[in-house]
């Protein structure tokens, strides 16, 4: 799948240079898309006069195209191309005294911010984050001190506003050094709330955030929001493995028989698909309640539940001759699969540390690998007895 290939190239090739210089394109998958295709990538409604130049105004109500784009981005369709032209924008009728809110040029970040601002007069300064959301880009360094300084200067912000404050989303802080921005531009960085929806309350309170506005949790809504794209990204891998299982299942003591592909292969492929969907959907859903702290441990339980269910099913289907050998193969393969799936979910969570993930992988990956080999061997042996 196209999206998957691009993502893979992206993650593999984004090297350390992206951390240090904000200008270098971090991954070629984002660089290869022409961001100018839709002009600004957002519909503008007139402009606001300033001493420098007219600043394009954007609405605070999202249209159908915006909503459709959000849905597509969630499902990983064309999400690499979902960006807004960097630079200064206006919402409402801002003046020289109005606040400046900094955002990323991932359209979903930008849309979430502007749709939170009905009735607010403000400037939005969009940084070039190569179409990546604020938090991810801050980790990469593309949402960073250099880019912010550059955009403040390029927009000639000191000539447009009379104050010297920019409001940066708190999740941009890993990339931005507030004291350096001040030294280089004279602008004070105030960190705004984590969620765009809290921006009006934050402004109303005189740019003060409550502790809740500063906390990142991982509520059900956010956990489920990442499920579609995980399904899309894992699909290719799972479909290939299913195909391999189908082909292998033709093997038997009397040579190759296509009839076995249906009888034996289909249930096997279905089990694998079931493990993938169960791990990808129920893992995030049940995350707080699955026992264990390591995600690879939490994932194991989903597979074990399937193993129990499969055993019960086999006992009711063929109580006289349950195929315990095939069952043992799956008793190893299913937990290993769901453990691996949830371990890979670490990247989508909002609380796992690099050191922590490294530690759990040192334990989990060897176990998963041994289980995969043992399980597949057992599964093949079961074809022959």
């Amino acid at each position: 799948m196209d999206t998957n290939a691009k993502t893979a190239a992206c993650c593999g090739k984004s090297d350390v240079s992206a951390k240090t210089t904000s200008q270098s394109p971090a991954c070629d998958c984002h660089g290869e898309v022409d961001s100018r295709r839709h002009e600004r990538g957002v519909e503008t409604t007139g402009s606001v006069e300033t001493p420098v130049a007219p600043v394009p105004r954007v609405g605070t109500v999202l249209g159908w195209a915006d909503r459709l784009g959000t849905v597509k981005a969630r499902w990983g369709i064309g999400r690499m191309d979902y960006r807004v032209e960097p630079g200064l924008y206006a919402v409402g009728g801002p003046t020289a005294d109005s606040p400046v809110l900094v955002s990323a040029n991932y359209k979903m970040s930008f849309d979430r911010l502007r749709s939170a601002l009905p009735g607010v007069d403000a400037w939005i300064l969009v940084l070039d984050t190569k179409g990546i959301n604020v938090w991810c880009a801050a980790g990469k360094g593309t949402f960073g001190t250099d880019e912010l300084v550059h955009r403040i200067e390029a927009a000639r912000l000191p000539e447009i506003v009379s104050h010297r404050t920019v409001i940066v989303p708190q999740l941009g802080a890993p990339g931005v050094a507030a004291h350096e921005v001040r030294k280089r531009t004279g602008f004070r960085v105030v960190y705004g709330p984590v969620r765009a929806g809290d921006v009006p309350a934050f402004l109303q309170a005189g740019m003060k955030a409550t502790p809740e506005m500063r906390r990142v949790e991982f509520p059900l809504r956010d956990r489920l929001a990442v499920v579609p794209v995980e399904l899309v990204m894992g699909a290719k891998c799972v479909l290939l493995t299913m195909a391999a299982l189908l082909v292998l299942s033709g093997l038997g003591p009397d040579g190759y028989a296509a009839s076995r592909i249906l009888a034996r292969g289909l249930p096997s492929a279905a089990l694998l698909l079931g493990a993938f969907v169960a791990g990808t959907v129920f893992g995030p859903l049940l995350l707080p309640w699955l026992p264990g702290r390591a995600l690879s441990a939490k994932g194991t339980w989903i597979g074990l539940a399937m193993v129990a269910g499969l055993g019960a099913y086999m006992l009711t289907e063929s109580p006289a001759t349950p195929d315990w050998l095939a069952w043992s193969a799956w008793a190893i393969l299913l937990p290993a699969t769901t453990s691996f799936i949830l371990m890979n979910f670490t990247g989508a969570t909002t609380y796992t540390s690099l050191s922590g993930v490294r530690r759990e992988m040192r334990v989990a990956v060897p176990i998963q690998a041994i289980a995969a080999v043992a399980g597949v061997l057992l599964w093949i042996v079961a074809r022959f007895v």
Partner: protein, 99 residues
């Protein structure tokens, strides 16, 4: 503490209290309320909640904080191991790798 807990005693976060000026930036930028300011002095109140995002170290004007910042993403670590690059796919956000 609310929320889901990750592994204990693993993060690389360090605070040099002798350098701290008590400015409060670390407490403000941390998304997991790891720091507390008490008597004009930062204190690590909940070290295991740290996700090593690096926001505190980057914004400490006194350079009192150090942390090996990175993204806690198994996919990035696997890819890094396979391609020989450092894990850097900025997965930590609302979406999976490179979202």
């Amino acid at each position: 503490m609310t929320g889901i807990r990750y592994l204990s005693n693993v993060v690389t976060l360090r605070l040099d209290e002798t350098k701290c000026t008590g400015c409060g930036m670390c407490e403000m930028v941390c998304p997991h309320a790891v720091f507390r300011i008490e008597q004009h002095q930062a204190r690590i109140a909940d070290r295991d909640a740290c996700m090593e995002c690096g926001a505190c170290a980057r914004n400490c004007p006194a350079e009192a904080i150090s942390v090996d910042a990175g993204v806690g993403c198994a996919v990035a670590i696997i890819k890094g191991a396979l391609t020989g690059t450092s894990p850097d796919c900025a997965c930590g956000g609302k979406s999976s790798c490179c979202g």
